[in-house]
């Protein structure tokens, strides 16, 4: 069984986005998988089943009765110090929400593919970020891939980031429902031996911080009182929560280092926390996530041909938020239009634009953030739509007048 796996040689496979998730999990030699089927994630768990049952992946596969149990299983497994993987979508992610907090609070390096989709009602199974962004503050790191190669590479990188002792956090790797999950693209895969060299070895004795070992018995997750300097100094709940924040801060440098190291070893770079496209002289940069970010490059090229100084920024890592990178970019860039497939109901904008506004609010250059909702529930976003948004942003940069109304692109009249 092991022999067969190590035989994996460098090759290019034309596969779906979902297959890229499964292949990455196989290359990472995950030891425990737990999953529950949900459209459009289903073919990931099917492919992983094939790998395991064909003896190509030596993993325990727990086919559970709900997503809540998916995450409970992975938490139980990860407490044992093993590498774990799952994937889900939309309603499934919402259903396991309680356990997302648990995984992050327990500081377990679980990696999960999210094939993002709209939240019901009405039923919707197409690309939309409402599901993922509702898990914004659970403590998980959140990555968005913009093409199939990036799905594969990011998933592998993620194990190295999550299992870093300065991080020890779980992470999502997101891909758009159907737009990415069910389309085919070529994906370059290296020799298994190179991935084995790249990823850390799973410790024989469990993670250094958490383990379930009868020879070293510890009780996990005891009740803790609020505490206070003069009340009971043994109450650490608040401090544990703060350490999750610290881990997110630590993760930023780790993400940058791992992206560089990956580039050095495999010759592929998708950006670190962000990827900049023609931003050096740009006055306007379109911020987007997922497949929209890849398409934004075409919109930028078209605009450049007409002489506009515009660029694009792919938000590859949403959590931890690339605060420092955006603050640096804002020294030159005047307007950041943000096009996104989510709604921050009751506020003006999608969820990411609200966060970007918050971190740029006190910037000395006072850049504009232009929130644009687009492609909700998988509605097609055309290059022309992105160009239109860029032109509106260019106009804002020229007139220095901020548009206050929310732009809702592609909505029926």
């Amino acid at each position: 069984m092991t022999e067969l796996r190590s035989e994996l040689k460098e090759s290019v496979r034309i596969i779906s986005g979902n297959a890229a998730c499964a292949w990455a999990a196989r290359y990472a030699r995950v030891q425990v998988i737990s999953a529950y089927p949900i459209t459009p994630q289903t073919t990931i768990v099917e492919k992983l089943s094939d790998f395991v049952e064909n003896g190509e992946l030596d993993a325990e596969y727990i086919r559970v009765e709900s997503e809540h149990s998916v995450m409970a299983c992975l938490i139980g497994a990860s407490y044992n110090g093993v590498r774990t993987y799952s994937a889900t979508s939309g309603q499934g992610l919402a259903y396991m929400h309680e356990m997302l907090h648990w995984a992050a609070g327990a500081r377990l390096p679980i990696v999960m593919g999210i094939v993002d989709r709209g939240m019901a009602p009405p039923w919707n199974i197409w690309a939309d970020h409402q599901d993922v962004l509702a898990a914004r503050d659970t403590g998980w790191m959140i990555f968005f891939a913009s093409n199939h190669q990036e799905i594969f590479d990011t998933t592998i990188q993620m194990y190295k980031i999550c299992e870093n002792p300065n991080v020890f956090l779980p992470a999502f790797v997101c891909l758009g429902g159907f737009i990415m999950s069910h389309t085919q693209q070529p994906v370059h895969m290296p020799d298994q031996s190179l991935v084995d060299e790249f990823l850390p070895e799973v410790p024989k004795n469990g993670w250094p911080h958490f383990f379930l070992d009868p020879d070293r018995p510890i009780t996990h997750g005891n009740l803790q009182n609020p505490g206070g300097p003069n009340i009971d100094p043994s109450c650490w709940y608040y401090e544990y929560r703060y350490l999750i924040q610290k881990a997110h801060e630590n993760a930023k440098q780790v993400i940058i280092d791992v992206a560089k190291e990956y580039q050095k070893k495999f010759g592929i770079f998708h950006g670190d926390l962000i990827e900049k496209y023609k931003c050096d002289d740009a006055e306007v940069a379109l911020v987007s996530i997922g497949s929209l970010a890849d398409q934004a490059k075409i919109a930028v090229d078209n605009m450049r041909e007409e002489g506009y100084k515009v660029g694009a920024i792919k938000l590859r890592c949403y959590k931890p938020f690339p605060t420092e990178q955006f603050q640096e970019l804002a020294k030159k860039i005047r307007v950041f239009p943000v096009m996104e497939r989510s709604m921050a109901f009751g506020l003006i904008g999608g969820i990411v634009s609200i966060d970007l506004k918050a971190i740029l609010y006190q910037h000395p250059k006072h850049p504009f953030v232009l929130p644009v909702i687009a492609g909700v529930g998988g509605r097609d976003v055309r290059v022309e739509d992105q160009i239109e948004v860029l032109k509106t942003a260019v106009e804002m940069a020229e007139t220095n007048e901020f548009k206050t109304e929310l732009i809702v692109s592609g909505l029926h009249e």
């Binding site: 030891q31 737990s34 409970a72 139980g76």
Partner: protein, 309 residues
């Protein structure tokens, strides 16, 4: 049946894995049950405790009563977490053979089993996860202050059934038996040796094992703390709680319940309910309803036992 005299000489059973100074209430049936369960399971055990009194009785951080690896867990997640631990151990074993022979135990309350946890429990049983699931049933949400659960008996007062519960207790051991798992048993904290014996048996069986332990709760059931054993025994002697085992589908009555198939051997349920404040306001008509329900449980058992032989 193991004799107490022999047992106290056994160094393994003499060990305590739930230590003195824990935060359980005086006269806690659940704590008594847990101590005896751990005596049977021994040191190489990993315990998962979904939300229940047993997240609190272990003691506030950094104090901890369990002398074994103990994982506090989310309410609905007890059984699934055990599936994950078992899978994780299987993966670990490939690298580290010393991870052999570890028992995984889910120790959950009636709320975490009968109500919010039943989906995960059913799933784990259907998958045949190799673990022991023990429900300590104190017949209400005692950790939050006595709210009714699916395990609360008809007529009992709780803070959410102030005039008495209108529905009967859910029969989860039989639901678990319907999963076709190799071992199902009931026990009572009032008969710790019977419980000990059943846990020892479960430990040796591969697959999903389910044990449902009635655990009298002095503050919730409203009886003096020194009467936990007596109340538990009365529950069995009146037939309110039936002790049995189902091994590979074959049921046998155990302990004092063996002789109670004939109604005239069972004490009237009044002897049980009069000991407890939670039945203080039950009407004579409702006592009849409850007695009728108890008798029906026994009639159902009679049919099952007759069909087996």
């Amino acid at each position: 049946m193991v004799k107490l005299k022999e047992l106290i000489k056994d160094p393994v059973a003499g060990e305590e894995y739930f230590l003195k100074g824990n935060s359980s209430c005086a006269g806690c049936g659940g704590e008594l049950a847990f101590r005896w369960i751990m005596k049977a399971l021994g040191k190489r055990t990993i315990v998962v405790a979904p939300a229940s009194c047993f997240n609190v009785t272990i003691g506030l951080y950094p104090r901890a009563g369990p002398a074994i690896p103990y994982l506090n867990m989310a309410f609905a997640a007890g059984a699934a977490t055990c599936s994950g631990i078992v899978a994780g151990l299987a993966a670990r074993k490939k690298l580290d053979p010393s991870m052999e022979d570890i028992t995984v135990l889910c120790f959950a309350g009636d709320g975490g089993t009968i109500d919010i946890g039943i989906q995960g429990l059913s799933g784990a049983a259907e998958r045949g996860t190799d673990f022991i699931y023990i429900c300590y049933d104190n017949e209400a949400y005692m950790n939050t202050g006595t709210q009714r659960s699916g395990g609360t008996p008809f007529g009992a007062w709780t803070t959410t059934t102030p005039t008495g519960k209108k529905e009967h207790k859910k029969n989860v051991p039989m639901i678990m038996a319907a999963h076709g798992i190799p071992y199902v048993a009931t026990a009572c904290a009032g008969y710790p040796l019977d419980l000990y014996q059943k846990v020892l048996k479960a430990k040796k069986i591969k697959g999903t094992k389910y044990i449902h332990v009635l655990a009298p709760c002095a503050p919730g059931w409203r009886f003096p703390t020194e009467q936990a054993i007596e109340v538990g025994r009365k529950a069995v002697q009146t037939g309110m709680w039936i002790l049995y085992e189902i091994e590979d589908g074959k049921m046998t009555l155990s302990g004092p319940s063996k002789n109670l198939l004939d109604k005239k051997n069972r004490k009237p349920i009044e002897e049980y309910i009069k000991l407890q404040g939670r039945f203080r306001n039950i009407s004579p008509e409702d006592v009849k309803v409850l007695q009728k329900w108890v008798d029906r449980q026994w009639e159902d058992l009679k049919i099952r036992l007759a069909c087996q032989s």
